[in-house]
């Protein structure tokens, strides 16, 4: 199979003209992966190409990069699924991480975020003999996160990390969930309080699902973050804007069956939070002028008390 790849290159040892796109053409096995192609380049065509790879079996996490703009683990990305024979693939380094050379990025920030969330088990006391007793169910639930190979694809595509590097990020937050839900860990409340913090914690995720989409191991980091939000609310962590937002939403839907947007805006800002409320005024005024202000008396769904009943039933189930 004829393969053509364009690789975004960067040579830190050059002072000018140090980044360019280089094309490589080759004829390799039809079931080849993108990594097979890159290794072929490195071994047979151009020994200056820099990339990280090791296991070739999607377990070491080394070979994350962007293929045609989307982050992938290239050892398990088959060329024939992305390109017709002769069609050129674009290969670039992962995003949101500084490029050191060619397809090699600086992963130190990625691992530094891990350290932020106290990434080790913190039991109260160890069993006098033998192992901690824990149900198989509880261990199997943690398998989802344990499958994380720290490849960095989620971080590469995270929309919030693109604009805010104080965000703890999908990989580290998913890793945090592994400890929050481990029955042997005794610091659950402290962990949740930390993750619940306004700056950079679980509430900063914009729910764009990029991390869920690109994760090669089905860890679904965003879903783990949502789990954490639910649990943080359950145990009564400090109220944040994020909490106010989802709480107001729920109240609205239960009361009217539909969303009361004005109330949502006010309650998310915080009804005693004067600066934030004042902030809403210009937007509100503009909306009023343009006839876009949501009705003062929110519209309801027809027969909306049925929804109230469902909500009540669910509450009783818990």
């Amino acid at each position: 199979m004829k393969v053509s790849i364009d690789v975004k290159r960067f040579d830190p040892e050059k002072t000018n003209e140090n980044n360019w796109v280089q094309n490589y053409k080759m004829d390799i096995h039809p079931s080849s992966t993108v990594l097979d192609a890159l290794i072929h380049v490195r071994e047979e065509i151009d020994g200056t190409l820099g990339l990280r790879c090791a296991c070739r079996a999607s377990i070491c996490g080394s070979c994350g990069m962007r293929v045609n703009g989307k982050a992938k683990l290239v050892c398990k990305t088959r060329i024939e699924e992305l390109a017709e024979e002769g069609e050129t693939l674009l290969i670039e380094p992962m995003g949101n991480q500084p490029v050191i050379k060619d397809l090699i990025v600086d992963i130190s920030a990625f691992f530094a975020k891990m350290t932020q969330i106290t990434p080790f088990l913190q039991p109260d006391e160890f069993p006098k003999q033998g192992e901690f007793i824990a149900s198989n169910d509880s261990m199997e639930k943690l398998l989802t996160e344990m499958n994380c190979i720290m490849c960095g694809l989620c971080v590469s595509e995270c929309t919030i990390l693109e604009v805010d590097d104080t965000f703890i990020g999908p990989a580290a937050l998913a890793k945090a969930s592994r400890f929050v839900y481990d029955p042997r860990d005794s610091q659950t409340t402290d962990r949740l309080n930390f993750l619940n913090d306004e700056q950079g914690g679980i509430w900063d995720c914009t729910r764009c699902m990029q991390c869920v989409d690109v994760c090669p191991k089905d860890v679904a980091p965003m879903d783990r973050i949502m789990d954490l939000r639910e649990t943080a609310i359950e145990i009564g962590t400090k109220k944040t804007h994020g909490y106010d937002h989802t709480n107001s939403f729920e109240k609205s839907v239960v009361a009217h069956g539909r969303l009361d947007e004005s109330r949502l805006a006010l309650e998310s800002a915080g009804i005693f939070n004067i600066p934030r409320l004042l902030d809403l005024i210009p937007v509100g005024l503009r909306a009023l002028i343009k006839g876009k202000l949501p009705p003062l008396f929110p519209h309801k769904a027809e027969d909306n008390k049925k929804i109230k009943e469902i909500a009540k039933k669910i509450k009783e189930m818990e």
Binding site: C55, R56, I59, C60, L121, E131, M139, L142
Partner: protein, 560 residues
């Protein structure tokens, strides 16, 4: 002043377990690794870790016997006793560090069966046990604030006045060569799968540790013992864990027969790996294979079971071959996987060279002898990784502060690198490596004989010459020069290949994984011995054959 008390080369399971222990013992420790710790090849181990737990009626002697029988009686039984005795605590330690081992209904650690054992004593995390253990040890290293020289490649050991006192290493990020001094060094740099082609091993498994130790006076023992894993995926050679067979999968030939009943009627698919690999290869050679493979059948296990207990295997099968294991059998064949051989150590990791220790796959205590049981490698790494730390911590107290003239060692390696960078031969590094690795698989395969082994030796000898005279590298830069790195690794691989070939030609019998079709029987009278190979500074090779240590288990015929 030394930079460290203990410097560990390699951040896989053995290296990190050693580091964590050494840190707890108050040593000034650092780990030096050519890849980030979680990229180490330990993460590829899938199936589980063995341990006899007495509280459920298992007996360490049962595990020891299985291990010794599995080794075809080449294992040193005093070492096996220690590993079997300490296994239970080693596994419990890991659980307490936070490993999410699978559980039984009683909430205690659960087990699965594994090859060469009738008792189910393999503790596991899905089909990602190695990765789960490695990540937890990495977490512990973060907790303890372990210093890591990340992405540094050790080019040589510093041997000063007969003792190993540090390393010279290349910082891959900058291309600068530096010396790091330490009162002692533990080599835990893993195996050498890349000496063969194909192999289940990662591209980074280039026998660096074996070569470093060998070139500094340590002996390499039983190097001819190369494990071919029975179930590696067709075409790509990716490992499919023995756990599949442990959980009940069948091996079928082209006639749909469970052919293991011919070769191992008692243990069937769970006979020792060398027996299973030879059986598969025989079926294939005799025309009952399919395109050079046989079939691994999991259909009867059911989709849900497969996806929970063997999830990673399903992922590999679907992603790389497009086969759903619950619907169709998977084509597999024997693939080079592990080296039982390695740096000779005693039960505390001592190599006999002062200041130099070894642990993990690169070491040979010997607990695996002529064939390793599945799930014993993870055990080996944590038990002997820990023991090396303990021994080294005593040793370093005896090392008086010294001034090591590091400049001359750095200068020596700068020369070496310059020679490689300036070389203008006609071969690319990959070409040379591929030729040698293919020949090694051909010559030192599942079955071998005098002719095939001499063929391998011939190619290795030629490779040494080509490496010295005829390579060239394209990348002349400093930052992440992988071209240079591969050339340095190739040097290490050639050392390994040379020792393997010597060991293979030395042992004139068949035992475990070393199966000679020209001398098919086991010869305990003359060959209940190890092959032990030394290389002098001038490159001269000497072979010794020390006796195997027998304690309670007299060698008998090995039948599965």
């Amino acid at each position: 002043m030394y930079d460290h008390d203990l410097l560990i080369v390699g951040a896989g399971l053995a290296g990190l377990r050693c580091a964590v222990e050494a840190q707890k013992l108050g040593l000034k420790v650092a780990v030096i690794t050519k890849v980030h710790p979680v990229r180490s090849h330990s993460n590829a181990a899938q199936g589980g870790i063995n341990a006899p737990l007495t509280d459920r009626g298992d007996d360490w002697k049962g595990h020891a016997l299985d291990t010794i029988k599995g080794s075809d009686y080449l294992a040193d039984q005093d070492a096996v006793e220690i590993m079997s005795r300490e296994a239970g605590e080693a596994v419990l330690e890991l659980e307490r560090m936070g490993v999410i081992f699978s559980r039984g209904d009683d909430g205690k650690l659960g087990t699965r069966r594994f090859g060469g054992q009738k008792v189910a004593r393999t503790f596991f995390v899905g089909a990602i046990t190695g990765s789960a253990l490695l990540h937890v040890l990495y977490e512990q290293s973060l907790k303890l604030g372990l210093q890591v020289y990340e992405e540094w490649f050790v080019t040589s050991l510093i041997k000063h006045e007969g003792a190993v006192r540090g390393v010279v290493a290349l910082d891959l990020k900058t291309g600068e060569l530096e010396s790091i001094t330490a009162k002692s060094v533990v080599i835990a740099a893993g195996g050498a799968g890349r000496v063969f082609e194909p192999s289940t091993n990662a591209l980074i498994c280039t026998g660096d540790g074996l070569s470093l130790a060998w070139n500094n006076g340590a002996g390499l023992m039983d190097m001819e013992m190369i494990q071919y894993h029975p179930t590696t995926l067709a075409r790509t050679g990716i490992l499919l864990s023995e756990a599949a067979r442990g959980e009940g999968a069948y091996l079928l030939n082209s006639e749909g027969d469970r052919f293991m009943k011919k070769y191992a009627p008692d243990y069937m698919e769970l006979a020792s790996r060398d027996v299973v690999s030879r059986s598969e290869q025989t079926e294939i050679n005799e025309g009952r294979g399919i395109d050079g493979n046989v079939l691994l059948d999991l259909r009867h296990l059911g989709k849900e079971f497969i996806e929970t207990r063997l999830g990673y295997l399903q992922e590999v099968s679907v992603e790389f071959l497009g086969i759903d294991m619950a619907e169709k059998p998977v084509p597999i064949r024997p693939g080079m996987h592990y080296i039982m051989g390695g740096v000779k150590t005693d039960v505390d990791g001592e190599t006999g060279v002062p200041g130099l220790y070894a642990a993990g796959e690169c070491a040979n205590v010997s607990v695996h002898g002529a064939n390793r049981l599945g799930a014993n490698s993870l055990l080996d790494t944590v038990v002997f990784g820990r023991r090396s730390a303990e021994k080294a911590s005593e040793y370093v107290k005896t090392v008086t502060n010294d001034i090591i003239p590091t400049e001359k060692y750095v200068k020596r390696d700068l020369e070496l690198i310059k020679n490689i960078m300036d070389a203008d031969g006609k071969y690319k590094v990959a070409e040379v490596r591929n030729k040698m690795a293919t020949a090694m698989t051909k010559g030192i395969g599942v079955f071998r004989d005098q002719e095939s082994m001499e063929y391998a030796k011939k190619i290795v000898d030629q490779t040494k010459i080509d490496y010295r005279d005829s390579i060239r590298i394209q990348n002349k830069g400093k930052v992440y020069n992988t071209d240079l790195l591969f050339a340095l690794e190739l040097g290490n691989m050639i050392d390994c290949a040379e020792s393997i070939v010597h060991g293979a030609l030395t042992r004139k019998e068949s035992r475990g994984a070393h199966f000679r079709t020209d001398i098919p029987g086991r010869n305990d009278e003359e060959w209940l011995k190890h092959t032990l190979i030394y290389k002098s500074l001038e490159g001269e090779i000497t072979v010794k054959t020390p006796d195997v240590t027998i304690t309670d288990w007299e060698p008998i015929e090995r039948v599965y």
